[in-house]
């Protein structure tokens, strides 16, 4: 039996050589350098796995093939690690950070524990994701035409927390005037799905990869009915169909058909802001803005090389899905847009969280 394929062997050898090499030979091309990639989450979580997928490729694609090590700094739902990075990161391109929706949302909401500022960072790679809302068939709801049935029932939704990844989903429920009772404290989205499968929760939401691997069988078995995908929101605020679910209406379409009007107003603006920061840019690789321009450019190029490799899609598999990865200036422009939230929108969000869920910022 073949132990390792060629690429695996090569990357292992490369790793071994890189580990054995002495410090810095030529700083400008990263040869012999070690890049420390701070991940503000524990080992094995979504963002960690994402980083560990990219780390060896980043090492290969950056000039001079530096060693890339992942440093996990979990705590405070990623606030601890991001704060630490903001305080200590060097701006020579050897310190980089991986962020996720739970790093972005507290920054948008003005959580007092946040001591980092996205304005100090520049993004070189951003991985979007999407998600699907589905419902227990016992409610007899199959699409937007059944909105009255949907509104009539009190339906439970198992969630990690009001300010977690589910925030735009909760807001979407509110915009449609549904009577959703959120049960917080789930350890993960997976735990929420278990609650749905047990029949404890009547409505649920999963990100794209989890929907495909774990909810599709339920849909096929008649145990779940998909309602809408969240769609893909771009930096201009346009909402397009999710490439992973081209046949499924987006939330915006669903809303329009159910209520007869396009969504608008502060709530919709807030929803788009949350979608952009939490889904379109769900996971981001950022480095301090003060890094030399050529370093930032090198990272942008490396990210481009990685995602444009012919076999990238195949290797990325279901976890990254069919979404177009944003790289270089494109990623950074989206970041600027996502994290520049109108104070009125912020106020709307904090008021809503305080009124409906008693969350104080």
């Amino acid at each position: 039996m073949k132990l390792l394929n060629k690429r695996g062997l090569r990357s292992m050898l490369l790793g071994a050589v890189a580990l054995a090499m002495p410090m810095s030979l030529q700083a400008q091309d990263f040869a012999g350098e070690t890049i420390e990639w701070t991940i503000p989450f524990g080992v094995g979580g979504g963002t960690d796995v994402w980083a560990r997928f990219f780390a060896p490729q980043l090492s290969e694609a950056l000039p001079g093939n530096p060693t890339v090590v992942v440093l996990n700094v979990p705590g405070g739902g990623s606030i601890t690690g991001a704060n630490q990075f903001a305080m200590r990161a060097s701006d020579d391109g050897l310190s980089i950070l991986g962020t996720s929706a739970s790093t972005q949302y507290p920054a948008i909401l003005g959580d007092p524990r946040v001591r980092y500022d996205y304005a100090d960072w520049t993004a070189v790679l951003a991985s979007p994701t999407g998600g699907v809302v589905y419902i227990d068939p016992k409610y007899g709801v199959t699409g937007p035409q059944d909105i009255e049935k949907l509104r009539a029932e009190e339906i439970r939704f198992a969630s990690q927390g009001a300010t977690a990844l589910e925030m735009p989903v909760l807001l979407a429920f509110k915009m449609m005037g549904l009577n959703i009772k959120a049960v917080f404290g789930m350890e993960s989205r997976g735990a929420g799905r278990l609650a749905f499968e047990r029949g404890e929760a009547g409505i649920d939401f999963q990100t794209s990869s989890a929907f495909m691997s774990s909810v599709r069988p339920l849909v096929d078995g008649g145990k779940a009915v998909p309602l809408f995908s969240l769609g893909v929101v771009d930096a201009e605020g346009n909402v397009a169909r999710d490439p992973s679910f081209p046949d499924m209406p987006t939330f915006v379409e669903f809303y329009e058909q159910a209520t007869g009007a396009k969504p608008e107003g502060e709530a919709f603006e807030a929803w788009k802001a949350l979608m952009l920061a939490g889904f379109s840019l769900q996971k981001m690789l950022v480095l301090p803005k003060d890094a030399p321009a050529e370093v930032i450019a090198a990272y942008g190029e490396a990210a481009k090389t990685i995602v444009e490799a012919p076999d990238f899609r195949e290797r990325a598999g279901e976890e990254l899905g069919d979404y177009d990865q944003l790289v270089g200036a494109e990623a950074d422009a989206a970041l600027k847009e996502a994290l520049t939230v109108d104070p009125a929108i912020r106020e709307f969000l904090t008021n809503w969280l305080a009124e409906d869920y008693g969350v104080k910022m």
Partner: protein, 648 residues
Amino acid sequence: MFDIALSALGQVMSGGHLLFLVLGVCVGLVVGILPGLGGIAGMSILLPFLYGMDTASALGMLIGMVAVIPTGDTFTSVMMGIPGSSASQATVLDGFPMAKRGEAARALSAAFTSSLMGGVIGAVVLSFAIVMARPLVLSFSSAELFMLTIFGLSMVAVLSGRSLTKGIAAAGIGLVIGSIGTAPATGEARMTLGIDYLYDGVPLVVVAMGLFALPEVIDLLKRGTAISENTGLGGGWGKGVRDVLRHPWLVARCASLGCVIGALPGLGGAVVDWIAYSHVVQTSRDKSQFGKGDVRGVIAPESANNACQGGALIPTLLFGVPGSGSMAVFLGGMVLLGIQPGVTMVETQLDLTYTIIWSLALANVVGAGMCVMLARPVARLTQVPFVYLAPFMVMIAMFAAFQASRSMADLVALILMGGVGIYMRRFGWPRPALLIGFVLAPGAENYLYQAVQFYDWAWVMRPGVIIIALITVVSVFLGLRFGAEISSEGESDTADQQTRGRQLAFAGVLFLVAAYCVFEAAQLSFLAMIFPLTIGILALIASLAVILRIRSGRVAEIHDDDASLTVAGKSSGREKYLAVFAGLVALIWLIGFFPAMVVFFPTFLIVAGKARPLTAAAMTAGAVGFIGLITWAMTLRLPEGLLGQMLF
């Protein structure tokens, strides 16, 4: 199904797969032996190599690592009284007294043989259960899981020793400490004193190390001998193996228990060892030796904790929801290999599923085999004068505690918990009870809250809830009837009636902690308040009862193993050693971990151990080199020190 299972077996046994599995086992044993690291650290060593490996070999390597962590951690539990990981906490109760009695080799080999059998039973159960476990996992809702945490808490009845009141108070304080941090329902901060560190709660490693490791180190230093009280190694490993073979049904029962509990996502391995331990206590006829070195007290938790890993694979593979902490990491590894766990994978890639199951069985055999061979040589360490081992253990404890959240506050919390630990030991408060309360607090609150939200109060009438409640009642009854002889805190001193003032003072401190919890809880919103308020009042009443009983001179509550010395106006030196360790933490804060160890090691060895300078230098170099190597290999971080940050 069988042909797939067989062909998977063939693949598992092939050379390449076997090689990577053994590699994984070796990594798992090393991180298992080092307390406080566990599967998460092991995974971070292996994950960088996964990229590009073929799937079966990579899975073998990951499973090899995960499977043997509850095997390797037995070394520290038995030999040093330090719970290596949450899965080996109960092993300490009887394993460590055996080591002190000079039977370390016997205890270790009994533990490893039970681990092996438990692990294999777990794999066998898994291979059948995986295709039909779905309804079982789904039948445990938040309500049943809440009842299971209550069942776990009922173990306090067995583990309280002479005084149930003290046990309840200790468990109450554990629950209070466990609910520090963010409220699950509302996200409000509770009892954080405005300290950022406490927002995430106190890490388990810190609590376990503080409660068990530091007091044991200090007690052994105080005694001034080797760990073992006599020189023989006590019959060696053959005796331990025979011990296990004499109790086949005990192994089978505890392994099944481990499997089922492991399969319930959310509860995980944290309490399985305690449940197995109290099971063996309740079902044994002769209970006089439990807590003093009964080999069955080692066999039960060790057969359960390895089987638990097999059980924990069920929700991981079937639902993509991890059954325990190390399974969460394993799940991440699978995703990195491009496998999406879930029912789709189990049904369409059955070969992969069976590769995992067979790897699990094989890893248990390989891992336990290696450990049995190591048992005898490693057991010799119990013959070494303890003063030479102590600095090493303190270093490991601090290293492990710091990895919990990589904050100096971890070390401060370690010293504080160490203070709690030494006085609990001195005044006969059952530390296991506090630990159980601490471990179960978040689960109890979270599941109760969820159960009420999902079912209102109808959850009480669910059949599963009623069944578990009945089991709990029976278990409490048996525990109260038979548990009184089991003491985790050793014997009291004859003069203990004369130091009642000090005993009262310590109980008073715990009373104040409970009062603070009630006071804090009263200011929160309803959902965040209800749980801390309830447990705070429970702890308040129980500690008040202890105070009243000590005052009235009731024998069961009075305990002080330092009484004679105190009466004579002398100190046993516990506070002195704790102060030394606190000083070490201050030094680490000032000059960083490595320089502080370079200062601490030789100083301690020469001053306390009367070692020759050359020996001290060699031991320092060895210890610091070892930690440096581990830190480098696992890309961990250690405190850098204030001075270093200011200079550079």
